[in-house]
């Protein structure tokens, strides 16, 4: 029991949209983006110049941060551990991939409609959203919770990986979709496009962060935290727990879909390996490392782990998975609340109490 928790005043950070963590996170994101833009605009001879390759890399990190945010919304605040969020990410990616393919070649059958950007953009939201709606409706209605839910999300993403590997799907089989040249009439290989995609991804992170923040500070956010900690109690005071879970699950899947859609033009390929269970588990590790139920922790975790991955897979490619595993074990044991927990401790705030219990962390 900490002394901070007994202070009489209300902890505003949980109920106000414009809390310090919102402001600081937004500011860091905006300043970071502007800084990269400025440094990128410097002449290449300048020591501080940021190359186009780095900008592209940072843009990719942004899409990972978006995906981590989606996972934190349901894992941190609702206690639903999805080990298959890569599936929603990949679906958004495939929708974007089809659109990009359709710019330079004529696609067969229903895929022809993906030529139009508004249709494609809609599909980026609808494909993951609908899958989450049907899957979540079945799961939450039958009260599948905890580790059982995690296992079936793994099965879901694995099944989709097998399906997308088949050539009959018309989605490139195991090669996936590639050979992207144009987006909205602009060449994908131009420097300007790299910067534009970086910016779009950064803005998407900012908007999604605000959306998640708005949800978690609302009464619905409090109902979801209550559901995470005492589901039966929530049901007995009259809330439809399955509806709450379904709504947030669908929102989360859509955010993941947008992340995938922004990811694909930046890396130039989408293939069934994105559906691989390992990728989805890695996303969970980002969030756990960053710290659950803080939102900014998820952003931080995704950035830190992926930066480490970039550096370390270059330096010692074989060791990366061991390092990742060791990091996860270490963080779970030493910093159960992740990097965000350390920050909160420094700030002397009482975030600890908002965190899910240890019991859940070990599940």
């Amino acid at each position: 029991m900490t002394t901070q928790a007994t202070l009489p005043g209300r902890d505003r950070s949980r109920q106000a949209f414009l809390s310090r963590s919102t402001l600081v996170t937004s500011l860091v994101l905006i300043v970071g983006m502007l800084l990269v833009l400025i440094l990128n605009a410097l002449p290449a001879s300048n020591a501080l110049h940021v190359s186009g390759a780095t900008v592209a890399l940072l843009g990719k990190y942004f899409t990972y941060m978006l995906l981590a945010l989606a996972v934190d919304l349901i894992w941190g605040y609702l206690g639903i551990l999805s080990l298959g969020h890569g599936a929603f990410f990949a679906l958004g990616g495939y929708a974007m991939g089809l659109y990009l393919n359709a710019q330079t070649s004529v696609l067969p059958g229903w895929q022809a409609m993906m030529t139009y950007f508004p249709v494609a953009a809609l599909m980026v939201l609808l494909a993951p959203g609908l899958l989450a709606l049907v899957f979540g409706w079945l799961a939450f209605r039958s009260r599948v919770t905890g580790v059982y839910f995690s296992i079936i999300t793994q099965a879901l993403t694995f099944a989709l990986m097998l399906a997308f590997n088949r050539n009959e799907m018309g989605l490139g089989g195991s090669t996936g979709l590639t050979r992207f040249y144009e987006l909205l009439g602009f060449s994908l290989s131009s420097e300007g496009m790299t910067v534009a995609l970086f910016l779009a991804s950064g803005i998407a992170v900012l908007l999604a962060f605000w959306l998640c923040r708005a949800i978690t500070v609302s009464r619905l956010g409090r109902v979801s935290v209550a559901t995470r900690d005492a589901e039966a109690r929530v049901r007995f005071i009259g809330y439809r727990v399955d509806h709450v879970k379904l709504a947030l699950f669908v929102v989360s899947a859509m955010i993941a879909g947008v992340a995938g859609a922004l990811y694909v033009p930046q890396v130039g390929i989408i293939n069934p390996s994105t559906f691989a269970p390992l990728f989805s588990i890695e996303v969970v590790v980002w969030v756990a490392l960053g710290g659950r139920a803080t939102l900014y922790g998820a952003l931080l975790g995704a950035l830190v782990v992926n930066y480490l991955k970039t550096v370390l897979t270059g330096a010692m490619p074989d060791a990366w998975l061991f390092i990742l595993g060791a990091l996860f074990v270490l963080v779970t044991m030493v910093l159960p609340q992740g990097i965000a927990g350390v920050i909160a401790k420094w700030r002397g705030r009482r975030h600890a109490a908002v965190q899910p219990g240890q019991r859940e962390a070990s599940a």
Binding site: V225, A226, A230, A232
Partner: protein, 285 residues
Amino acid sequence: MSGVESARFGRLRELARPDRVFDFMAPAQSPVDVRHGPILYLEDVSVSFDGFQAINGLNLTIDDGELRCIIGPNGAGKTTMMDIITGKTRPDTGQVWFGSRHNLLALDEPQIANLGIGRKFQKPTVFEALDVTENLELAMAGERRVWKTLLARLDHEGLARIDEVLETIGLSEERYRLAGVLSHGQKQWLEIGMLLMQRPRLLLVDEPVAGMTEPEMHRTAELLTRLAGQQSVVVVEHDMGFVRSIARQVTVLHQGSVLAEGTMDEVSNDSRVIEVYLGGDEESA
């Protein structure tokens, strides 16, 4: 003018009356119909789990505004009975009615809760990551749909209601403390407060004084007796001293059915009750 016509005009005049209150304009009343009898009615309810007969031909009637204590040794089926009433467990046979209109066996937990049956668990279950006010806010009777919940704001009426309940449960000083740091007794009261926010017609309270100190117990007894009358209250309790201090009517459960019913004195002098319950009490002591 013929009789039929005058009747028609009469109906018209009735419609045009300035003081007429249309049904749809009237404030929402509790939908529970208790005009023709009890608020809760269980008939011949049986349920078994893997061959174990937890409830066996149980009959129970609770009147509107009554405070009823239910006692019985471990495994008598008290908690299972509450599970059945609140929709958590479905009985194999029997009927459960809330008022004379609502068949509880056709409804699920949130529907039953929204009809006005509140339940307090044996182990205090509050939302530990939220503060006291937020706990009460979530329990407040009102809109439960996802979209409305997202947009909901606490208005003055709601705040006043929360203040009132905080006063009743004696937690005004603790309103901004996290529920997780409250003492055991305070958590129990907070949970009762959450039930009050729901404005239930029927309160089911499972072992409210388990683990409480003597003064806390007195305060809980006072709280529960004050509630009866406005609400019907069913208390399941082990502590005989506590039951004696609040009960008017006591029902003794044994092996899933009613063994005896009456005032505390009648019940405690019943030879069968002494045999199964008080005898068992000595054993465990």
